[in-house]
């Protein structure tokens, strides 16, 4: 449960909420813990909240690592459940 996953912000909603895209999965998350997030930014998402912004390179690196380690699918499953 400690894993955090990077996701791209695709839509900003009211009340500090946003829609992010993990791979093909879209999810509503909270931006209450971060500041100045714009559409297109990557954020590290943990239990439904963005913990902080990450660079595109960091996001890609992390996602590739997770995919290769086989954890990406498990996480996506949990997120979309």
């Amino acid at each position: 449960m400690c894993l955090a996953m990077p996701a791209r912000v695709v839509e900003l909603l009211d009340n500090d909420m946003a829609v992010v895209a993990f791979d093909t999965v879209r999810k509503r998350i909270s931006l209450a813990l971060v500041e100045d997030v714009a559409i297109g930014d990557f954020v590290l998402v943990h239990v439904g909240y963005a913990l902080h912004k990450v660079s595109v390179e960091e996001a890609e690196r992390t996602l590739r690592m997770m995919a290769e380690a086989g954890v990406l699918e498990e996480e996506l499953e949990e997120i979309s459940a």
Partner: protein, 383 residues
């Protein structure tokens, strides 16, 4: 096979491994404790230990929130669901953890209690909004990364006047646990846990920053290197620790600068201190009672505190007798030292929490490390 990028690059891994081999003094042993379950997982999944010289040892610490939750708190959660008839919401990992008499939340659910797995505190709030006639309790566990989301949920419940929502708070603090491992009398008396340095947690540090470890490195004279989760991060951090040990330094160094800053996420910290305060003491599984190591809900939010809203019968709880989780979480024993490991206790039917959570040392040994560890002769000889 070519690894996908520089953080997984085999060439680079070999270079770092060669540097470690060259710089590790063959006349001494290095014991490094990784605090974070994510690191335990990475070390096993990628076989990082195999790339280390024989005198570099990983000690798997108590860094998994599921593993350190004492049985009594889980029993309380079961009681909330069964006796008080609430809708109990919690993260998936908590569902299978066995409490007293092997009773888990999933069993309670099978017996008719309303236990629901949620991915986020946002889901728990939603359930509360949708069930105004029921009490909804969020069973909150975790270190500094899951605490801010709980704080946000409490503030939201207050702002909305969501009177049927409360939190059963079990959030714990990383730095106090690390200090405790070093200074508790058991450790001093037994002298078994030898630790020469720490791999500091990565995502926890992204929230609290690297600064809280400064005091600790100074006070206990142990080096701390905040390490990312990728195998090369772990290796690079080991190299940095070896260098500190060799030089007799004890500083906080940050290998994970791409995510962790000195001050961390200030906004999240402010939210947490608005909603929570320190508990005088909290019992950790495996570490015993640790002063100022956990959080409770401030009086200003008392209406949303499940411990105040519901009467919980305080009962002594029992850990499964032969389960060695307490020693494993302290780094005193290895999972393979447990009689039940791999026989009675497997991830399919776990006896202790270290086998339940995929970040627990027993689960990691079972999944990745058990074959190597069944020939521990070399390792032991090096001690």
């Amino acid at each position: 096979m070519k690894f996908v990028d520089e953080y997984r690059d085999q060439e680079l891994a070999r270079t770092v491994a060669a540097a470690i081999a060259a710089e590790a003094d063959p006349d001494r042993n290095y014991h490094f404790m990784e605090f974070c379950g994510g690191h335990t997982h990475a070390i096993f999944r990628y076989g990082v230990q195999d790339l280390m010289p024989e005198n570099v040892h990983f000690v798997h610490g108590p860094g998994c929130p599921v593993c350190v939750l004492p049985v009594s708190r889980l029993d309380d959660a079961v009681e909330l669901a069964e006796r008080h008839g609430v809708i109990l919401c919690t993260y998936g990992d908590m569902m299978r953890v066995p409490g007293t008499k092997q009773r888990s939340l999933i069993r309670a659910k099978a017996d008719g209690a309303d236990v629901r797995m949620v991915y986020s505190t946002l889901d728990a709030l939603k359930i509360a909004r949708e069930n105004p006639g029921r009490q909804v309790v969020f069973f909150a566990i975790g270190f500094e990364t899951t605490t801010p989301p709980t704080a946000v949920a409490l503030k939201a419940a207050e702002a909305e006047g969501l009177r049927n929502f409360s939190v059963f708070c079990n959030h714990v603090l990383t730095p106090s646990a690390i200090s405790h491992i070093l200074e508790s009398p058991e450790v001093r008396d037994l002298g078994i846990v030898k630790i020469d340095g720490f791999l500091g947690p990565s995502h926890v540090s992204s929230v609290i920053g690297s600064q809280p470890y400064e005091f600790f490195a100074e006070e206990f004279q142990k080096p701390v290197v905040i390490a990312g989760f990728e195998p090369l991060d772990v290796m690079q951090s080991v190299l940095m620790l070896i260098r500190q040990v060799n030089d007799g330094r004890h500083e906080v160094e940050n290998e994970y600068t791409r995510v962790v800053t000195e001050e961390g996420n200030v906004k999240a910290q402010a939210l947490v201190s608005d909603v929570f305060e320190l508990r005088k003491s909290f019992a950790w599984r495996g570490l015993g009672t640790v002063p100022y190591s956990a959080l409770r809900i401030r009086d200003a939010y008392a209406d949303f505190d499940a411990e105040k809203r519901f009467e919980l019968s305080v009962k002594a709880s029992r850990e499964a007798k032969s389960c060695e989780c307490p020693s494993i979480l302290r780094g005193v024993k290895k999972p393979t030292d447990c009689k039940l490991f791999g026989t009675t206790c497997t991830p399919q039917s776990p006896i202790g929490s270290c086998m339940v959570s995929s970040e627990g040392a027993c689960a990691a040994y079972w999944t990745y490390g058990r074959f190597r560890d069944q020939q521990p002769a070399k390792l032991e000889a090096a001690e």
